[in-house]
Symmetry: C2
Amino acid sequence: MEAIEDIIKILKTKQSFVLTTHIHADGDALGSLLALGLALLNNGKKAVMIHSEPVPESYRFLPGAEMVKMAQDLTESFEIGIVLDCTNLSRAGDAEQLLQKAECIINIDHHISNEYFGQINMVETEASATGEMVCNLLVKGGFTITPDIATNLYTAIITDTGSFRHQNTTANCFRTCAYLLECGAAHSFIQHHLYEQRSLQSLRFMVKVLQTLSISENGLIAWMTISKDKIAEVDDSDGLIDYAKSLKGVEVGILFKELDSGEIKVSFRSKSFVDVNQLAAHFGGGGHERAAGCSIKGTLKEVEQLVIRKTEEYLAKRRAAE
Amino acid sequence: MEAIEDIIKILKTKQSFVLTTHIHADGDALGSLLALGLALLNNGKKAVMIHSEPVPESYRFLPGAEMVKMAQDLTESFEIGIVLDCTNLSRAGDAEQLLQKAECIINIDHHISNEYFGQINMVETEASATGEMVCNLLVKGGFTITPDIATNLYTAIITDTGSFRHQNTTANCFRTCAYLLECGAAHSFIQHHLYEQRSLQSLRFMVKVLQTLSISENGLIAWMTISKDKIAEVDDSDGLIDYAKSLKGVEVGILFKELDSGEIKVSFRSKSFVDVNQLAAHFGGGGHERAAGCSIKGTLKEVEQLVIRKTEEYLAKRRAAE
């Protein structure tokens, strides 16, 4: 029997569920959590959605977000624990303890690095988002996809595919979204909350970071730096690295961010041939071929020089090998 | 008989076609033109794709783009003229004359303002893009959607929906994209050419324009200005107005652009309740409820004051009426 069938059976026969997702939750994490939680509640089940942090303000528009409880505030036990969009149980943060007390843990995720920590593991690495898997699960299980559930799942897919720009955009994710719109997903409402709620400080912060843009002599590397004094104002560096990568001819985009710890957080993105996971690994970090990161002790200036030199060496070696 | 069936019959029985699209062509215009042109060529027809301007550099990646001929260079006659994504025939620019000589003009468009200028008019205002209509036409007519055709149609839909962010995003447009991916649309190749080919000058220009951002006291209006000296460097203001509109609490985004003519081009966008078409019309311009524009004689400073005052008046009147 496939994991999905096991899960459907449990959702139908068991009565009490605790659901959670990963720390630093994004749209897919929260959208998946709320969609499955609402579906269980609509079917008369006891279902408590918990998280180790308050729901970030930018995602409080999601239907049901106000029902998410702080994990620390709960002590009771549940029959079934469901963990969504989490590679391992420690990523559930403070919710881990509560989960461990359940009779059975169900693990639903699409990350390739998933550690199969559940008694039942539904891991589909080809899914664009965990939200796509939850939609499939609800449809197969005959659960009604209400407009609220559809809005959560649609948000999950939009955010995890970068509005259908990332490589994980598939025919199946488009078909899922078509179906979710028909179920009543609130397209304009979601767009408004995801893309039209930027703070003035965040925009001004972006302008300052963009002004630090440098490009290597051969045009293949573009990077930007965020010094502590700039972070002090506002810390909204999400997506900024994409501006470096978006430039014509640039293969590697890098963002350097000075942390309070005295370390520099380095994020890497590549377009088509540089394996930035290797680059990050050289400095003790990791990630994927096209997106990776690491933290390095030193001043902004030192780390910038070190990393750019290493990236140039990598590119030179590659060229020599061709 | 529906227009689509008439058109399929003509595509199958006639032998020579001339196809064109609107001036200042965008992704939907060129993607639709190339998709239908390639489908006819693949079926052994004589099909010439013409345009009144060279294909913009940013769209030369589209398969078949090199086959598009300048309308001025052609003198021969064709049985059938096909006009794509054009509200009226004069929008075809220099191609209009050649079209007029055809036995029959087929008009395929999704704009609500379409003037039904053809002998056969397939006008579907609920379609997200003309590319969506062309896909439907090819499927219904039994034409093979090759990877090249799929890449053109997918680009058409991506660009006209703003990567599935605009309100014209529908279940049908998602299903069409699912199908196009299965036909071999080159997702990563398209994303790379649409979003990762920005020039350094264009990014630096954006930063300069963003630095001019002002916000009205009540936070409802945000605007930016482009003075002539900045345009002299590079003229890439596409999409910049969206940054003004993206701010939290802002209802109207405005972009002022100083033209060589001594006029100021004013672009308006609104989020949810201001009819910017009315505002633009007050200054002799026009457009839609959520996107409109006009040109006003005067200095940047004068026009800025005039338009902001008028917009504030409009907002005050609305509030009074509530």
